[in-house]
């Protein structure tokens, strides 16, 4: 049986996708984060085929191999994960964070 999985519309702000992105970035910019553009889907990192998470472009920074201009950064990163290609569209959402 399909259970209703829709949030109550009245209680929360119906923001557009664009607005959600802008709101998130602005929230963290106001808290000292530098906004950086989305990196390419083709990563510099040779160990992965595609950019699969927001942290990937910063991997060398986390490893201490590269310095970064700002210790606080915020991004909207485009990602592709192809390990579940046959299930696209089949249920309500994906669930592949980390």
């Amino acid at each position: 049986m399909e259970v209703e999985r829709v949030s109550p519309k009245s209680s929360i702000k119906a923001l557009t996708g664009e607005e959600i992105r802008a709101t998130f970035l602005k929230f963290y910019e106001e808290r000292g984060h530098q906004i950086m553009p989305s990196a390419s889907l083709v990563p510099k990192d040779p160990t992965v085929l595609l950019t699969i998470a927001g942290m990937l472009p910063f991997k060398p920074v986390f490893l201490g191999q590269e310095a970064i201009a700002s210790p606080r950064v915020t991004t909207s990163q485009k990602c592709i994960r192809t390990n579940d290609i046959e299930n696209v569209g089949k249920t309500a959402r994906h669930h592949t964070f980390f």
């Binding site: 209680s11 998130f24 000292g32 390419s40 595609l50 970064i68 915020t74 991004t75 569209g89 964070f97």
Partner: protein
């Protein structure tokens, strides 16, 4: 949190906030909560959080600092809430925020994995440990924060829709696809909805992949692009879309995302061209697949093997359901078990390729650098120098020596080579051993990078042998250093000029100083106008000719900042900083190499100005001798055009405008001619009109005209025959490869009054010709791919018409 039968969008946007050794757990949790509740307005009673079962600290923060009901803080095990990059390396616990669609079910039996109730939307990773080879966790000196909030999921929650696809980020793509076959997403069955979702998701992915330089192929990323694109075509066909259609969906995707991703707009043509090329190629492959299947069936097999079914699926894009359908029509079965095991093997291969980010790779050079420490840089004062070889890494392996042909990384005790940093790329030059004027060993250095303060010189050994401890002569290439100095000082001038001419609030977002050009990214909410760019150029060139001598000094950071030096926002600086001053023009904290006097730059020229992200612009420019190459390129274009047009350079623009107008006029008259030809051909058909009671009809072939012309012809004939008439025309169009069929139907108003609908009438006829189409009650057109079926389709059309009018 992978698992179970969960659906997927392959392409998504992850919003993240990151801390590199700055704030940590408490701050990250507080902000995540504030953003979710106060900013996005989620009701705390709809939220639940997970923590790693041993992360007492996180649980305490959620309960005591934030005030989350303890029964809504769920402890999870390693598999769910401990993030590691690999067997060794940085790792740490994570904590996730979930949205609860049914808080009325209470706090007693909370199962966060129940995805009919909960959706995870924000993951906070606390990178606080390093795991060593023995598996021990040791605390990191610098704790990091890495987070991810799924944009599409947040949109789903805030917009109150049932899934990612119905958000305004994706739904317009589904609607566009649905409109091509006149269906309504909300009124079709789940199978067709899935097809629309696949089309929407994959088209977004394809558009971005191509924009980022991926080309369809059978390898790696190219193969992923190809598979995605073929799935789009296949699902389009499942919905009944017979014609090429992807670029129509792609146009919608580009429109939706072009503000956040301006490069989509810049690459529009490239994207559409690649999509179209690959789609047509695949349609061709599908036809060959159909042939292969027909041949297979003709050979009278007992069943269609799993291997064959998978080959049809994988190579020819045949859904197994279609193979099955055709098999059943021919009294055959398909080995589904064999098909699925072939599919599983393939899926495993795909999974192996993509699923983890390995943070554990530490190559030889990193180990060497850990032992050696920092290199002394002496390249501000001189270009040539004598130094000692401290480390040699050949093809990634630490070594005592290197010899001719080797690809090497070298670390020296001191160097004059600038190591890539602060936006400036590394120097080029040579490292050699010279004794009594004879070169015993020569290494060409093409890149120099800094690894934890050590300068790593990468190059190829041209002659001789180099050993550890050798004393070498290092020489930075003078010409390339001169170009770099010129471009770097020009970058400082550019920043100052932008502040003066455009907006004093402009700040740097990124920079690249290379030998042949410079690139400067900056925060600015609007494009820079052409006359502003001219003004910027003019100002910079006036500063250049003013012969300003640069002053480079070192001073405490506070002193530098109070003197007004520009620092990169948020960047960490040492206590004592290097300040590069162009008196009266610019003062910046900078470690790069610069000209001694602005006159050395000679000339400055902006080449382009574009947007690269929301609120970030990019200027590319050239300076000094680098301008010559640019001028030559421009000159070549102008000269080539002049020769082609046999015109002076000043006349070229007018000539092009003239030509465009001419093409427009010619195209119009050609179209008119097409219609006239079709009309006269059509009028000849008038004599073939038949009667059925009061009704007159023409059902005839009309070859060699365009689609538009056939449309006009059908309308013309109905006009001539009167309101109680019906016309069906079909034929092989002009300028085609003979494989296409076009059809058109027009009904007079009396026919429509009798309950006939041109669109519905034409569709089954087009299907007989291997196509489909639709239209309005009075007029419809369609296409197909089977000219051989044309005549029998027209016979069918006549039978149908007679039946319906009877």
């Amino acid at each position: 949190m992978l698992g179970r039968q969960q659906g997927t969008i392959l392409f998504f946007e992850m919003l993240g906030n990151f801390s590199f050794g700055d704030y940590f757990k408490k701050q990250a949790i507080q902000w995540a909560w504030e953003l979710s509740t106060s900013v996005f307005g989620l009701d705390p009673k709809n939220l639940a959080v997970s923590v790693f079962r041993e992360d007492q600290e996180a649980e305490d923060i959620w309960r005591d600092v934030i005030g989350v009901d303890p029964s809504r803080i769920i402890r999870m095990n390693e598999a769910d809430n401990f993030w590691s990059s690999g067997p060794t390396g940085p790792c740490g616990p994570c904590s996730e925020l979930y949205y609860d669609f049914h808080p009325e079910l209470g706090n007693q039996k909370i199962d966060l994995e129940d995805d009919s109730r909960f959706i995870e939307f924000y993951n906070l990773v606390f990178m606080q440990y390093n795991r060593d080879a023995q598996g021990n966790l040791e605390s990191l000196a610098n704790c990091n924060i890495d987070t991810g909030l799924g944009l599409e999921r947040m949109a789903q929650i805030l917009q109150g829709v049932a899934n990612n696809y119905e958000t305004d980020l994706i739904f317009p793509l589904l609607e566009k696809a649905a409109s091509l076959v006149n269906i309504d997403y909300y009124k079709i069955d789940e199978k067709d909805q899935i097809s629309l979702k696949v089309i929407g998701d994959h088209t977004r992915a394809c558009v971005h992949l191509i924009s980022d330089g991926v080309i369809a192929s059978n390898l790696g990323r190219g193969y992923i692009l190809r598979r995605l694109l073929r799935r789009v075509v296949r699902h389009g066909r499942l919905l009944g879309i017979q014609q090429p259609f992807i670029i129509q969906i792609a146009e919608v995707a580009i429109e939706l995302m072009k503000i956040s991703y301006p490069q989509l707009n810049q690459n529009r043509e490239k994207i559409l061209k690649e999509l179209q090329r690959e789609e047509l190629r695949f349609l061709d492959t599908l036809e060959r697949g159909e042939q292969l299947l027909a041949d297979l069936i003709a050979s009278n097999p007992k069943e269609i093997s799993g291997k064959k079914a998978f080959e049809l699926y994988d190579t020819y894009g045949f859904p197994v359901e279609l193979t099955q359908e055709i098999a059943v029509e021919n009294s055959l079965t398909v080995d589904l078990m064999g098909f699925h095991s072939a599919m599983d093997e393939q899926r495993q291969r795909a999974k192996d390729a993509v699923s983890t980010i390995d943070l554990t790779l530490q190559d030889a050079i990193d180990k060497v650098v850990d032992e050696l420490g920092e290199t002394t840089f002496q390249g501000y004062q001189s270009l040539d120098h004598s130094s000692e070889v401290q480390a040699i890494v050949v093809n990634g392996v630490s070594s005592n020596k290197c010899t001719i042909g080797d690809q090497v990384d070298l670390v020296l005790d001191t160097t004059t080579f600038y190591g890539e940093g602060g936006g400036q790329i590394g120097d080029r030059g040579t490292i050699s051993i010279v004794s009594s004027d004879k070169i015993n060993c020569l290494i060409d250095i093409h890149a120099v990078r800094r690894v934890k303060g050590a300068f790593v010189h990468s190059g190829i050994v041209q002659s001789g042998i180099l050993q550890l401890g050798d004393t070498v002569r290092i020489s930075v290439d003078r010409f390339s250093r001169r170009c770099i100095r010129s471009n770097h000082t020009a970058t400082h001038l550019l920043q100052s000029a932008l502040k003066k001419v455009v907006d004093s609030n402009i700040s740097q977002a990124g920079s690249l100083v290379s030998f042949d050009r410079l690139r400067f990214d900056f925060h600015c909410s609007r494009p820079i106008k052409v006359d502003e760019l001219r003004e910027v150029e003019k100002l910079i060139n006036s500063w250049i000719s003013n012969d300003y001598s640069l002053i480079v000094s070192e001073m405490p950071i506070n002193e530098a900042k109070s003197a007004g030096a520009i620092a990169m926002f948020g960047e960490k600086y040492e206590e004592v900083v290097r300040v590069v001053t162009i008196p009266g023009v610019s003062m910046e904290l900078c470690g790069g190499t610069h000209v001694a006097n602005t006159s050395e730059i000679g000339l400055f020229k902006i080449v382009s100005e574009i947007g690269i992200a929301a609120g970030i612009r990019r200027i590319e420019a050239i300076s000094g001798q680098g301008i010559l190459g640019y001028l030559n390129d421009c000159d070549l274009v102008v000269k080539t055009l002049s020769e082609r047009f046999k015109a002076q350079s000043t006349e070229i623009v007018d000539r092009v405008i003239g030509l465009q107008d001419e093409v427009k006029t010619l195209t119009k008259s050609l179209e008119k001619a097409h219609v006239e030809v079709a009309s006269s051909k059509a009028l000849l058909l008038l004599s073939k009109a038949s009667s059925l009671g009061e009704t007159q009809y023409i059902i005839e072939r009309l070859d060699g005209v365009t689609g538009d012309a056939m449309q006009s012809a059908a309308k013309l004939l109905v006009h001539k025959l009167g309101i109680n008439s019906a016309v069906v025309l079909a034929g092989i169009p002009e300028l085609s490869d003979g494989k296409k069929v076009i059809l058109a139907t027009a009904f007079g108003s009396e026919i429509i009054n009798k309950g006939l609908h041109a669109g519905k009438f034409l569709n089954p006829i087009a299907k007989l010709c291997g196509g489909g189409g639709g239209g309005r009650p009075n007029y419809a057109q369609a296409g197909g791919r089977d000219p051989k079926a044309l005549d029998s389709a027209l016979v069918f059309a006549k039978d149908q018409l007679v039946k319906l009018l009877d």
